[in-house]
């Protein structure tokens, strides 16, 4: 009995060992292939946002297109948690050889001012901007306010009484709401809904709150269903595919704010490699597939060169810092607990 079992165990052991060697083969392969022209092996793309969300959808469309350009596989690795903080930290520590890159939303402009991370975009090499989702202020379809002005007027007469659903404090959509408060000089009774702005709009449709902040995508289904309508969108110009929605800016409230999606590489990645990556993703973003996708997501296409992206992120830093400071949120730049 004993001998039989140990014999079986030995077989099991050899099978395991063989499997182990087989699994580790690609690692050796990596070492041998290193000297070839970039990219000679699969590229890992880090994301901090869960599969199924907006960021992951953008990636699922653009990476296959970029793969075609690079003639190399791009492996998406999700390191969820802390609104991208975990994936950004991982990316910062990664080897700057072009084989680990990452995506970020405007969260990168928020973390260092809230003190959740002690670094911002300067710790990376941003090489292209992909799209932007502006904020939007929504009310119930039968709400008495015809436009943003009337709504703000109502809020001014009833300070801290008008309830507005927003996502977690410190999230980009929540900061967009603060920006509107600051620009209009009013204070809302902001109700937090954990997670994305989706639950907030649902609560609006049920009539539990007076208004809700959400991106055009997040409110799209309920707008199509005739339950809510958007009073103003926070983009510079009207959305190309939904031009009936006025911007906040044209109604006299200087609020231009959105979450932007930018691709990054670790600091110190060779410029030649950054250029290859930029070109590949640029071509991918120019394709018709990406165009259609952005349209179906009620999102805004965006293209910036690496230099422009850096300048853009610097400007965004100024904007977000101002909003966060004025809103009285925690500011612990450079401080470590």
């Amino acid at each position: 009995m004993n001998a039989r079992i140990s014999g079986r165990n030995r077989k099991f052991f050899w099978a395991l060992l063989l499997a182990g060697i087989l699994v580790s083969l690609p690692v050796f392969d990596e070492c041998w292939a290193q000297k070839d022209a970039y990219p000679s092996r699969p590229i890992t793309l880090l994301t901090g946002w869960a599969a199924g969300g907006g960021t992951s959808l953008v990636l699922s469309i653009i990476t296959p297109l970029a793969e075609r350009q690079l003639k190399q596989q791009i492996v998406i690795s999700t390191k969820e948690g802390g609104s991208g903080a975990i994936s950004l930290t991982t990316l910062k520590r990664a080897k700057p050889d072009g084989y680990t890159i990452g995506i970020t939303t405007s969260a990168i402009n928020v973390h260092k001012f809230l003190g959740t991370l002690d670094f911002g975009y300067e710790a990376f090499e941003p090489f292209i901007a992909l799209n932007s989702d502006p904020g939007g202020i929504n009310v119930k379809i039968d709400a008495p306010w015809k436009n943003l002005k009337e709504f703000i007027e109502h809020a001014r007469k009833n300070p801290e009484k008008v309830s507005v659903a927003g996502s977690n404090p410190g999230s980009v959509t929540r900061l967009e709401l603060h920006r509107l408060e600051q620009a209009a000089g009013v204070l809302f009774n902001v109700i937090s809904f954990k997670g994305a702005a989706g639950p907030g709009v649902t609560s609006l449709a049920g009539g539990h709150v007076d208004a809700a902040i959400a991106t055009p995508l997040e409110s799209k289904a309920l707008r199509e269903a005739g339950k809510v309508r958007m009073l103003g969108v926070m983009s510079e110009e009207r959305l190309p595919h939904e031009s009936q929605i006025p911007t906040c800016k044209e109604q006299g409230f200087d609020v231009v704010m959105a979450t932007h999606r930018v691709l990054l590489a670790p600091k110190g990645t060779p410029p030649a490699i950054l250029k290859i990556l930029h070109e590949a993703f640029k071509k991918a973003a120019e394709s018709k597939e990406y165009d259609n996708f952005v349209k179906s997501q009620a999102s805004l296409k965006m293209y910036l060169t690496a230099e422009q992206t850096k300048e853009f992120l610097a400007k965004q830093d100024v904007l977000f810092k101002e909003v966060i400071e004025k809103a009285g949120l925690k500011l612990e730049k450079g401080k470590k607990k």
Binding site: G52, N168, S203, G206
Partner: protein
């Protein structure tokens, strides 16, 4: 009628049925594997459906959805390891039944309950969707708060052995749910400066540690003879007539609860299972039986969590509201084909709506097929020598803990909870109440604070809104029902023999 036949013609094509069955298979497998859930599978496979037609893509994803929710119960029954969150309640009676050597009976029951729940949910989706959607929208923060309080009252049902230790465990769960950013001010709580804890303790590693790893420690450190399981009823995979008779009301009630709770935005399958178990155990003549492997304890949560699938699709299809993580992902599958769920869907794409209805019915029978197969062959896993099966489960657990967020840190977390739960078990503290607190605690807190913010600090908001008041009253009833029942029966029947007959 034409549309109906047309849709049937579309669904019953061989490749469509195969797609649904493939979805079912993927769902059941990932559902059964710890750490990987049906919603993860849907999210990962979503981009794949972009190149399919809208109907094909949706059939694949809608096959995974109920399959995943059912699949969790297989591992819950066989290994005391809920494969995904909605199966947590199934461990309570499923695992004890399997330990008695009736794993096949347990999985068969779970399959039947899931099938009935799933069909009931779909039926409601077809027949009364607009009404239920309206009802679901009337749930605001105060209603959610009271519903979750009602859910928390099930601690009385879950902690059957000892109310005090159950209470302690539930408080521990509430504490675990506090970790991460607070919902109103984003203040970090109990994160110890760890970025990994900022968004809270992840569910996957927690249940893998509390259930899977703790059970493994118990088995390896405990006496060996416990592992020698008798496979008594392996051939009987379909539930006996007696079981069905016992569980028919439970399944029906579970299906109703599951459909309604599934339709509420933000609730979902796990809460449906908790509440169904709570109601069933609370209304039972002898709540103490629960937790020892009674068929009702399997039928109640399993019918409810699968009924929640049809329920969750109600606000999605009729209003375009994604009420859960899965439906939020599903909305992407519609939108990429330029189809927007909502009232217009029934005007513009009625054919697709019917395809979804029929597809869901096919998918229900599809996962049931895999369910009965796993009831027949699944228990064989327990026959394998412990020296082989235990390391393999350990590997599955650790890989599962990692894969939820692709984070090595989470493996440490799972091991930590495993060790903690092992010692808690040694001291007689059971783990399921921890999950109860962990799942419901954050919801209770968030909705309580939001409600008070809405009312301007006035607590009367909880009793002036009818649904919220009903939930509070139900909580009182379910808590005092056993006491009241005992007193009532004592008063009327002083004769002891007559009381036993009750």
């Amino acid at each position: 009628m034409d549309v109906l036949f047309n849709a049937m013609g579309q669904v019953f094509q061989p490749h469509m049925v195969l797609i649904i069955l493939l979805g079912n298979f993927i769902g059941v497998v990932v559902g059964a594997l710890p750490g990987i859930t049906g919603s993860m599978a849907i999210a990962i496979l979503l981009p794949l459906t972009f190149s399919m037609s809208a109907a094909e893509g949706l059939m694949l994803l809608l096959g995974i959805y109920p399959g995943g929710i059912f699949g969790g119960s297989i591992a819950a029954i066989l290994l005391n390891l809920p494969g995904d969150p909605p199966a947590v309640m199934t461990t309570l009676d499923g695992y004890p039944m399997a330990q008695k050597g009736e794993a096949g009976r347990a999985i068969g029951l779970s399959t039947t309950a899931s099938l009935i729940g799933s069909l009931f949910g779909v039926l409601c989706l077809i027949v009364i969707a607009p009404m239920l959607a309206k009802f679901a929208l009337s749930f605001g923060p105060p209603e959610f708060f009271t519903l979750c309080v009602f859910g928390l009252s099930s601690i009385a049902a879950v902690a059957t052995k000892d109310l005090l230790t159950g209470f302690v465990a539930c408080c521990l769960g509430l504490l675990l749910g506090e970790v991460g950013m607070d919902p109103v001010f984003s203040v970090q709580r109990f994160t110890f400066g760890q970025v990994e804890l900022q968004s809270g303790i992840p569910f996957g590693p927690l249940i893998i540690g509390l259930f899977g790893l703790a059970e493994l420690f118990r088995q390896t450190l405990g006496p060996l003879e416990k592992l020698e399981l008798r496979m008594k009823q392996i051939r009987k995979v379909f539930p006996s007539w007696e079981d069905m008779k016992k569980c028919s009301t439970v399944m029906l009630r579970g299906s109703i609860i599951g459909t309604i709770i599934g339709a509420l935005p933000g609730a979902g399958a796990t809460i449906a299972a908790i509440i169904s178990y709570n109601v069933t155990a609370g209304m039972d003549k002898d709540p103490k039986r629960f937790g020892t492997g009674v068929p009702e304890g399997i039928a109640a949560p399993e019918s409810a969590n699968n009924a929640s699938v049809g329920g969750a699709l109600i606000p999605l299809l009729t209003l375009g509201i994604p009420g859960s993580t899965i439906t939020a992902i599903l909305i992407g599958a519609f939108m990429v084909h330029d189809i927007y769920p909502g009232p217009l869907l029934f005007v513009k794409h009625l054919d697709l709506v019917y395809v979804i209805f029929i597809g869901l019915i096919v998918a229900s029978f599809g996962f049931a097929l895999f369910g009965f197969l796993s009831a027949r062959f699944g228990p064989l896993v327990l026959k394998a020598p412990p020296g082989v099966i235990i390391p393999m489960i350990a590997i599955f657990c650790l890989v599962g803990a990692y894969s939820a967020r692709e984070n090595v840190w989470d493996i440490g977390l799972a091991v930590f909870f495993g060790v903690a739960a092992y010692f808690m078990g040694e001291f007689g503290i059971s783990t399921p109440p921890i999950i109860l607190g962990y799942v419901l605690g954050p919801l209770v807190e968030e909705n309580f604070r939001s409600s008070l913010k809405l009312s301007g600090g006035d607590p009367s908001i909880f009793v002036t809104r009818p649904i919220s008041l009903v939930c509070l009253l139900l909580t009182v009833v379910i808590l005092f029902y056993p006491v009241w029942r005992k007193r009532l029966s004592k008063g009327i029947l002083s004769d002891r023999g007559a009381m036993d007959k009750l």
